[in-house]
């Protein structure tokens, strides 16, 4: 079963990456850009056919390694 996980910085946490990208895009003339924030994206395939179980496993990976819970949020989606 395959899932995607998106990891985003919590609101109010400084996003230096997003900030630089935003300034650059605006300097390039795309002034309709209101806001951009940068995060991570994972595509994960697990050997598990029960969706609930699979999601549990992915959740564990997120908590244990993929996500820094102190500054990041995450969302798991089946794909």
């Amino acid at each position: 079963m395959k899932f995607s996980v998106t990891v985003t910085l919590k609101k109010d946490v400084l996003d230096p990456q997003g900030k630089v990208v935003q300034n650059t895009l605006i300097n390039m003339g795309m002034d309709y850009l209101k806001n951009i924030r940068q995060g991570k994206h994972f595509e994960i395939e697990v050997d598990e056919e029960n969706q609930l179980e699979a999601e549990k496993k992915i959740d564990e990976m997120c908590k244990k390694l993929l996500v820094n819970l102190i500054i990041e949020n995450y969302k798991i989606t089946k794909i």
């Binding site: 230096p16 990456q17 630089v20 990208v21 650059t24 940068q38």
Partner: protein, 225 residues
Amino acid sequence: MKSTVIVFPGSNCDRDIAVALERMQFKNQMVWHKETTLPKSDLIVIPGGFSYGDYLRSGAIAGKSLIIDEVIKAAKSGCLILGICNGFQILTETGLLKGTLLRNKNLKFINKDIHIRVFNSNTKFTNKYKSNQILKINIAHNEGNYFTDVKHLEKLKSENLIAFRYCDEKGNINNNCNPNGSLDNIAGIFNDNKNILGMMPHPERMVDEMIANKDGVNLFSSLIN
């Protein structure tokens, strides 16, 4: 010889390269990235560092800056271009050099002295080196893992466009002496016309005996030659 060093916000080896160039008798000028014209020069250097923090992809944002259009024009008209470390990454982002530099295989920043072997000593950049000469040189990067497609790799080999490859102190080339996972141990490449060189190691750090060795000197004296 006149040289120009392009300075981006976040460049941090700009002074180092300027010092090395001046030491090697280049008449050097620094050019801020917001400029829209380049002074006439024989050599343009894009220095190491973390342009724009390397926050999107290393070299990506610098690759879109105003001055880069001028660098591309100069390159097309045959001016010599040297990209070191972040400069190499920027050159790949502009398309002046093909391929890309991925994260080091251990995902860690690496700073140490390693060995490289000169693979083509018959260019404007390397003619003072002996062919197959082994150099001890400093690397300092997060993304030095060179990657390109099979076709381009073949071309690099068949047209002698590989400048340097990582090796051990005896010159052997294998996985153990590949610091970052780079394809075929590639440490530096030329473009088709060999007027552009991109390399991850820092020759400007190897010009002063008190600080390191002088294995980088011949790169600069080749250019003057």
